[in-house]
Amino acid sequence: MSDIIKQSLTELVENIKNKKLSSTDVTKAFIDRSEKSEELNAYITNDFTSALDKAKKFDQKPNFNLKLPGIPMAVKDLFCTKNIKTTAGSKILNNFVPTYESTVTENIWNEGAILLGKLNCDEFAMGSSNETSFFGNVQSPIDKNLVPGGSSGGSASAVAGQLTPVTIGTDTGGSIRQPASFTGIVGLKPTYGSCSRYGIVAFASSLDQAGPMAQNVKDCALLHEVISSYDPKDSTSIDFKRGHYSKELTNNIKGKKIGIPKEYRVDGMPKEIEDLWQRGTQYIKDCGAETIDISLPNTSYALPTYYIVAPAEASSNLARYDGVKYGFRAKGENLIDMYEKTRSEGFGAEVQRRIMIGTYVLSSGYYDAYYLKAQKVRKLIKNDFDEAYKKVDAILTPSTPSSAFKMGEKTNDPVSMYLNDIFTVPVNLAGLPGISIPAGHDSKGYPLGLQIIGKAFDEQNILNIAYAMEEKINFKNKITDWWIK
């Protein structure tokens, strides 16, 4: 059984299709591994009993035409799952049971996959280390007391630790790519409008996107193909022709032009990140593609812009948590007092901080100075990319300015925590697709990632580049199973 968990999604699908493995075998193996991995704290809710029932049912009446036939999968607890508790990592949704299913998870189950459980994340996806979850820190499978990154920290930990073959996360400013980079896995943030936001607990609606996280690029392409769909239930879902990303995957990227943006060479960037980036450009050349120096002049304004836009949207989205229709309620002397105490006791410190920032920048007298200003700078940042894409097909950058850090290292300084997302945030602001692939290790043996940013709707292209580079890099994740007793 032990070798089942080591197989890639693509291998598992193949082995189930040619009957070498049953869905029950596979589901049992991942449940067994998950049960031994409590110390990672990757799950908030497990659905193992029902997963096993579903696997048995699948085996009795298998449908091998599906893309994920009988494949067990845990998902981030930000996706609403019908009749299964969905918390968004928050006390305020501690007992919330959705009456509907998110479109993205619906697409996954429709292709034959089976829910294993709901994965831990930063509260309302606000965090870069999974330390803001009401349900506690997630441990990284890389090392004890190391953060897995965030906000999709449980998702990253579960894939890297082989608790689930693949998973989905959400990415508002880097929440898929940064944890993928920290744990040595692949994570794709699709173009805004590619995956439906229906049924995903909202953080910042103009930035949020769901995306796949996997052990390798091919698995990532397959899962992306399943989750990306046009959805009338999301008014920002875009009706464009979606590719067969896994079938059309090729490592032939000869003649592609890849931009290297000089502004990503930030002050104080560790030498090992610089070296990694250098090696990345060499891999690109080895694949027969060309690298071109480009400029994205407004890069340094992206993070301050994000910290106006995202909290502003969050303060508005999170206004719905009032202790009336669902979720946690605190006792109050009157209605207003009840609201205020519910939100004070129900939200954690980081969420309160961001609601406060958002409320302030949207408040009377400050709107023009902050929110309108940020929307204008956001336009400039998007223009930078538009201009660059006249010359190049994609852009290569590091995924993060450092490798994973220890728990508690950055919790007292919000700005230093926010700086983690310096390379990922511009991609969300411009609505573009970006993929992080594992590309090496630092001196401590922790994984480092490279990010490939594409043109809007050009996921196939960045997947191909990632696929070609993956072959050259030949990354091996150092998982010691330290948490298994």
Binding site: G193, P232, S235, T236, Y307, K325, G327, E340, K376, D413
Partner: protein, 95 residues
Amino acid sequence: MSIDLKTIKHISKLARISVDEQSAEKLAGDLNSIFDFIEKLNKLKTDNVEPLTSIAETTLKLRSDEVKSKNIREQIIKNSPQDNEDYFVVPKVIE
């Protein structure tokens, strides 16, 4: 720029989050360091820039207004912290 305790109290009122003295001071410190960082934007001239209000440049589609989820009243009410048959219950609002 500096956000004082009075401003913190005002924002917390608007945000409907009760804040005690101790957390107000902590929040003021945090928000000031975050806004110091945000102030960097003022270095950029943006007078003639159109604000980006929507990343997806599509027109909103219309759909027919049909009820799709039926008979879920009980489940919805069940999620409420306090209910009375078919109603959500809140603290008394009329004296």
